[in-house]
Symmetry: D2
Subunit: 169 residues, 4 copies
Amino acid sequence: MRKTLIGVMGPGEAATALEIENARELGRLIASVGWVLLTGGRNVGVMQAANVGAKELDGLTIGILPSAREVDTSPAVDIVIYTGMGSARNNINVLSSEVVIVCGMSSGTASEAALALRADKPVILLTDNQSARDFFPSLAAERLHVVDSPKQAIELTKRLIAGVGVRPS
Amino acid sequence: MRKTLIGVMGPGEAATALEIENARELGRLIASVGWVLLTGGRNVGVMQAANVGAKELDGLTIGILPSAREVDTSPAVDIVIYTGMGSARNNINVLSSEVVIVCGMSSGTASEAALALRADKPVILLTDNQSARDFFPSLAAERLHVVDSPKQAIELTKRLIAGVGVRPS
Amino acid sequence: MRKTLIGVMGPGEAATALEIENARELGRLIASVGWVLLTGGRNVGVMQAANVGAKELDGLTIGILPSAREVDTSPAVDIVIYTGMGSARNNINVLSSEVVIVCGMSSGTASEAALALRADKPVILLTDNQSARDFFPSLAAERLHVVDSPKQAIELTKRLIAGVGVRPS
Amino acid sequence: MRKTLIGVMGPGEAATALEIENARELGRLIASVGWVLLTGGRNVGVMQAANVGAKELDGLTIGILPSAREVDTSPAVDIVIYTGMGSARNNINVLSSEVVIVCGMSSGTASEAALALRADKPVILLTDNQSARDFFPSLAAERLHVVDSPKQAIELTKRLIAGVGVRPS
């Protein structure tokens, strides 16, 4: 049966403590709903934390790696896809996610948010980077939703998947 | 917990009745062992048949699609990865499979067999195309194994994963 | 002899009159220096205008297309690379450019600016989108340079290529 | 003005003396006609030899590299495209070539021949690997042409580009 994949994208090595805490909570909440967590799959930052959170509640986790083989793969990823494409794999991450939750901000993360909007995906932005909260809505106001907590992100994801009329905040 | 992904690659629209029968049996056998089936994910030929076979035994199936969105995705795929990369996704298929089972032959299939050998993956060739059975061992005799049935393919896959000394037939 | 490739990235269908004018001037200036112009190669917006500008001064132009074959290729591109990868080709654009000049803003353009920073490329931002001018320096202040005209962009590109100490404005 | 790109694909480190000699002659002949030579761009084997040959006659050379940055780039390549995609870049090589000349054989080379046929490109096969000469025509007899010398390859390329009725030998 077709599973629902929800992407969580965020910084790796440069993730802050708050971003990591939010990512872990997002992973937990995604697993609790029964969705599959999709991340970039590395063993650092937001990727690692989200996968650890999802596994705490026995969720299924999939990682789309930039490398061509096991290098710094998160041990909390169940299904590992090796792309060997570096950051070009960011586009696969967003194409394969029904909703893209952006948790934190970095150059790689910004590229995923932008690629998701380019691909007409709904994007939920959870970050305290104020310039990011100002900038991304300027690209596609109708698909970019700014939230303030993991819980808000998941409630909104549910409504987006249900197709309930949702207006960006 | 990290899952073992086994790739089954083969023709789409041009698959023969024998290739489809073999693919379905491969899917069943892969599911029966508890491995995850990885294919190109389209709803035709070897891809479709292998996924249907795996689902008959409640296996988990993952498809790496050439398209950027739902077009001709197999309904028997549980986890869909949209690459939007056309045939360049063939390289992801082989990088992500611990063992690549080639079931039948076509130009796309040949590219997957060759890319798998290029990536130092073990390849198991199940086809009655005699020129393919002659050609591929000339590329990398030590990693290319020719078999005559799905059952042989799966027995060999078990030994390859176990790291038991295996000599190509 | 190895040629110097300078990327100009910007909106397609949604480009404004100012962005198109700037792109054409960038193309002219790049050709006048003897550099090769690299763009996304489509026949619209900033891509088209930059290529037309470069050809006015007999520059060499290369386009990295998202499509797998001739669809909406700019007739002003001399050398066409078909990737068949959609927006994942954006990463190739920035990896292949010594300096990335971002002319205008859109979701695709933002992804290229972000991927360029992710790849440690120098990025020159020419846009009147104030939130973009605020946001991108927050990602990598040391490699992101905001300018106000095509001429400034080219002068800065010369200094960046010469390796002259350059501080972002 | 749109340039005609002709691809020459062949082994890297494992190239034989004959394959290298043929590649150099192909490069010379391609340059003499005024076509642009497209290769995988590395500084070894068929890629290196073809580029050196083309530069002997002042041809223009373009290389589509597997790496994300300068690593083992051929110094005889004028225009370097860095893909950072490993062997997935093989698909770009064939999509961007009007005709694909396969010079020699290896696993990477076989993948390019197969991907070219998959993409409906005309492929000219120049190799003394008899099993390859038997196998590839079985995939797409109408587009796969076996030749015995660089000169034959170029004569056939001219006819293919001119659209003159050409029957595979």
